[in-house]
Assembly symmetry: D2
Homo-oligomer: 430 residues x 4
């Protein structure tokens, strides 16, 4: 495949009959916002400038430990994954970069770079997989069954460190500027692991990785409460992630995945606290109700997503540049569609947060006017910013209704014919 | 393999040097209990009579959606699984029956029955798998991706019903007396499924299965809060399970898996309420901290397990006969060892509950003496009943220290040499 | 006070300068909805017909066990509470009825009725307080420290039953048609209470109350996971509430308080299940993040409130008539303002649910099109229905911006001058 | 009152008939432990040396926002509270120090010191109350309704700072060496408070308090997830508490209250992480199932308490000296009895942790032998260490069965006759 995966004419034909309604809705919203002194076009411009990376692994159908039910036309290999990512970007115009996972996406760098450039894509943060064994991969003769960077065997730790350095090297060749480290290390039973020493081993391994970072790179430590370990996890919450980032140095910062927290935790406050500590590195966006459900961003609790962006807009300023990435598992939907709408939901939350009247909010906060402060914030959330999102897409060459355009393109049927079918079956429990 | 999998002489040699210490500890505990009017031998006899079924799928190494790390000598097929179950029973003497999962354990009934009888094993409740697709299985041409018994396509529902009836028929041939139905049906997004109609379809399917139950059989409906579905689950809690069991009739009852509840839920109260409703069907024992972690029973919250057994001992009487089964996933331990100790932990909780002075407890409850009621209950829990458990095992031909005896037997090394190694790798997410 | 508490001219003067913007926004929304075949005026009419009861206890400042910080002009006695409720109704036009709590609101029925009628208010469900002692109240010589309807002392149970019957009699005189029973009965320690017998005592007490119900009345059993009891609660979840309602008879049904559930529980599914069982009695609306936080409806998770209303709109039809009530604690805001906006938020969720294209939704569900089903549902939620809510209020004589109108009226300053100040200080822990 | 509150002869008469059984049980346990190379007397000596402070506020009956049900003979004022604390210490011999709360316990320091010394009591960490208003207290003219140390009004912050400094000065006069700061500051609604600025104000206030610390003092920051604030809390988790302690300096450390965490959180890991960071300041012991339930230590999840002590024993060494305090609310039991048994439960967990074979544990951890590591840890927990606890008490002059001795003393009836009865009634909600 070369060039854009969807015929641009199709997009234009898709947009034409929708343009008038969009113009009406955009104008009506613009009039309403103007009454409050807000210039809708300025908001649209900021929304258009906001982008979020998509994960290469997100374009395949996900699964649970019980089963994986493949969809048609799943990508085989990283080049097909990039093709699918290009569809998402072409129609949604919010996702110009892809985040790779190694060794899943191992391939010659020049070919990768060439393929991506032809598709108009760049590469975001690299991800290292040391939570699975890689049978047949000469770089991974040792098992990660009992951990990786915190393993009690120095040889396993060295292997895991080397793999992370390897990921950095690949990333350098691809133009990436960051490495995200998520490990599954932990224990299933009280006593299985010495929690203090495991953390010390983790820190020592991370120091080696940190030392290998090129100039201008960042290292993200990602915490998660549980899974795959079910009693203790080495980097279990933002406090531990913070300790690690503090210990490593200025290139290290914390990555917040929205689904990696204990029940009821106030995530937007963690965002605020990490920013206070100078250690807010970035995000893995998704949504969840129970655990690390990895559902489409904004699909379960859109107000929570808005509250995170409320902090981000508040924190915005010179030098504030967290990394924005999606990390989801698409088990029952077409991954391309889920990623298109997730990027859209993320932009929606951003647009709503931009509409908050911050001067009024600050005044109500200063007066302890809890009700009006709350209402001022919600006024942003209540705004139906769909026209702003569509306008930003359309102006950039994307589709007014990108899922509809995608379906009209028959892209899925086309690749299903080209790509061999995967076999479903059991997940981890069988 | 025929006869017992471990040389009985080995067990005897293992027990001999441990007999004296056991006798001392047993006598000391007996003296202490006698002071309170409790006959330790009577307790031991009741403990010895208590058994719990092991799951055929539990003797293989489990995994998560991230990875599965196989152990050595994993059983290939149901006959090897039975061999492993026989080890558990021979050394622990608490698990004389095995619960099968179909189609995983599909095999000619006569052969199964013969193999089990030679090993001294019987068959407990049957389990039907309609949460995975079974490629290549002619009985399952249709996918369960979007549900099984509650699927909106009547053909899928019919296939799932037929499979459950098939499981009943196998169970009849094997001497089983119950079918456990757990489905993964649900939805990942609000709106994906009509929650009311999905439940109605589930009930209609269950009615068909119910109608196929032989005389003397029971049908267990098992609820679970979430996973594999991450927004809604058709049978999500005991209230829904109760509605189903009420609707179906007297052969239907509810099965309580200890890991299938919302955070903080008081499970022993659910036991009490289901018993009140006449619908307490049985248990899937395991332990968990976060979700359906499927860890070894009693390993995370042993007091909770005790509180469940406190209810069971209190409820015990003519006609009270819940089904007791283990349902665990052994990701980091030898499954045989985990099942041996889990059965032991379950008996431990039972023994502790038997030691509760119920007359005193009732008196304190009647006097609203919260502190002494609480202390009376905990007195049972605090008792170190290890000597009772060991005595019950040893008297029945088992091992005083069954894990040590198992390791001494070198059974795992033997089967590892005989059985081909499994390949590890990704779970559902790759 | 007689007649409306706020000068109607003030409302008119408040509305006049806001009318034009409202008309513009209403027309713009109407045009957009019309494109999808929806008649905005029909939606507005349904919204205007939807009402929710306010709690008499909600107009006083709430508190926690740590402290209560009174606000100015708090009502002294039920007549002043009714005055405050009349303000809420006059400006918001969504809350024409008040729910009383006895003995807090004990007063001669004729006076109560007269006062309410003069204010344009009616009486909704009665509530009985048996979770506190009432020193000096001759009807309550015995303490509820260890329970009420489930107490192990028959004399306490009889006192609690008698009080509930007393509440019914008051309700009859006031035109109420329902009794809501919420008890705090439970235990703080495992062993303190026999969970099974406590439930049986509760049922026996409820049967006596049920027997005293007049024709046409309903009895609501309200569950709550915990608090004030911290280990077990007699009516802890909807399953137990369902058992009670089933056992009592057709006049009994379950009341769902949105804050009374375990973490992560899917409340809209409980709504669906109770409706299936014919036992959905009604709601106590509020919002919460951690426990029974009793915050303003829709302030924490507005999408959850929408999902509940999505079920209600779906279930709507002949004979479907749950009771809708607010139950909140206003610790940091003016209670009148919080109740005005909470009623508005409830109507907002209702309006959004009315906008869902149910034919399209059903088609997507039938096709297992998870993404489009999800998007179809969210399209309703994303709509900014503020103009519909304002139009419904204004057409009924209420205020376009009711909180602003309330502030302009200086009602709070007026009653603060008339009513003695309350003293703050400790909550339950001092 | 002067001298010990209970006649020492009564204790001796209580112990005499129990001595023989204790000796038997102690010897039996000693024999068993000796088999594993453990000297029971050495364990008993360490247990006897372990003490925990009791809270002055814990000897009054607690309550919830719904109600407080007073018990007989509740202490009026700090001197009577000290009398009750002396009973706890005399019979249990584990609680020689009392933690005061100011202004609740405000009294002339010399009198306080004299009264305590006569009772054999000392003073532990001071606690400052800025979560309630103190009407009539000239030091607190301003309200804490909207916060204290983080309030947006500098005058309120100054008042709260001054009160904390005042607490330090009182503590100096009493021989205390630490100040614990817990504030209720936070917000109930998104938007009500600017989370970042509130934290900055908190830090600035804490710096002023820190500057007032005498030589040798420690300052404990205590986090809590929620309550009394129900949306955001300024010091919501250990991460934020750590940031504060890091920012303040070496005298500042974090205090872990066992009930202040999100559901499912692994508290023992937080202990490990804070120790790693050099910021583990101390504990507030209690137990809970749902929220900050403040139940008796070890009554709900005794294994969790053990796991915390497993970390503490592991961390123990030169310079390791966290502060151990109980913080509970006794709503349904006699507070003296609850505190006696809570201190006993805490020592039980400590004794069990001392019994863990740490060399074996470390070897199993090093071999990734998850099962035997887990079993090695649980072997400590399973030990019935009651005889060790009783021996430690009796040898120090306490009671073998302290609750029974307390009841035999009729202390409660005596003080009930002397102290006026409190009136029950509503909590914060009325």
């Amino acid at each position: 495949m070369s060039g854009l995966p969807i015929d641009p004419d199709l997009v234009a034909r898709h947009n034409a009959p929708r343009a008038r309604a969009l113009a009406e809705d955009y104008d009506a919203l613009g009039s309403r916002l103007a009454r409050g002194g807000v210039d809708i076009d300025a908001v649209t411009a900021r929304v258009a400038a906001f982008t979020v990376a998509v994960p290469s692994w997100g374009v395949g159908t996900g699964g649970t430990r019980f089963a994986r039910f493949p969809g048609p036309g799943e990508p085989r290999g990283v080049f097909q994954k990039l093709d699918d990512c290009a569809v998402i970007q072409q129609l949604g115009r919010a996702t110009p970069a892809v985040s790779l996972h190694i060794p899943w996406d191992e391939a010659p760098a020049a070919e990768l770079r060439g393929h991506a450039e032809a598709l108009g894509l760049a590469f975001d943060a690299m991800n290292s997989n040391t939570f699975q064994d890689h049978p047949g991969d000469a770089r991974h003769p040792l098992s990660y069954k009992f951990g990786s960077l915190s393993h009690n065997d120095p040889a396993v730790r060295a292997q895991a460190v080397a793999h992370n350095v390897h990921c950095i090297r690949i990333g350098e060749a691809l133009g990436s500027k960051a490495l995200t480290v998520w490990i599954g290390d932990g224990s299933n039973f009280p006593g299985q692991s010495h929690m203090g020493r495991a953390f010390e081993r983790y820190l020592a391994s991370m120091e080696e990785i940190y030392a290998a970072l090129p100039e201008g790179w960042r290292l993200f430590s990602e915490h998660k409460m549980y899974e795959p370990a079910f009693y203790s996890t080495v980097v279990q919450d933002w406090g531990t992630s913070l300790l690690a980032a503090q210990s490593l140095g200025p290139k290290a910062a914390c990555l917040v995945d929205l689904g990696h927290h204990a029940p009821n935790v106030n995530i937007e406050m963690i965002v605020s606290r990490l920013a206070h500590a100078g250690k807010l590195g970035g995000f893995h966006f998704n949504d969840s109700r129970y655990g690390d459900d990895d559902l489409d961003a904004g699909s379960i609790d859109p107000f929570r997503l808005f509250l995170v962006f409320n902090e981000l807009v508040d924190l915005d300023g010179p030098g504030f540049a967290p990394a924005y990435m999606i990390d989801q598992s698409h088990n029952v939907s077409d991954p391309i569609e889920s990623l298109i709408r997730s990027a859209d939901e993320i932009r929606r939350a951003y647009a709503q947060a931009l509409l908050v009247d911050r001067a009024a909010l600050e005044a109500f906060q200063g007066a302890n006017d809890a009700l009006m402060a709350s209402e001022t914030l919600k006024a942003g959330f209540r705004a139906d910013v769909g026209p702003i999102l569509a306008r930003a897409r359309a102006d950039a060459g994307g589709a007014i209704d990108p899922v509809a355009a995608y379906r009209a393109s028959a892209y899925r049927a086309r690749v299903a014919a080209e790509r061999p079918a995967a076999q479903g079956g059991g997940g981890g429990i069988t």
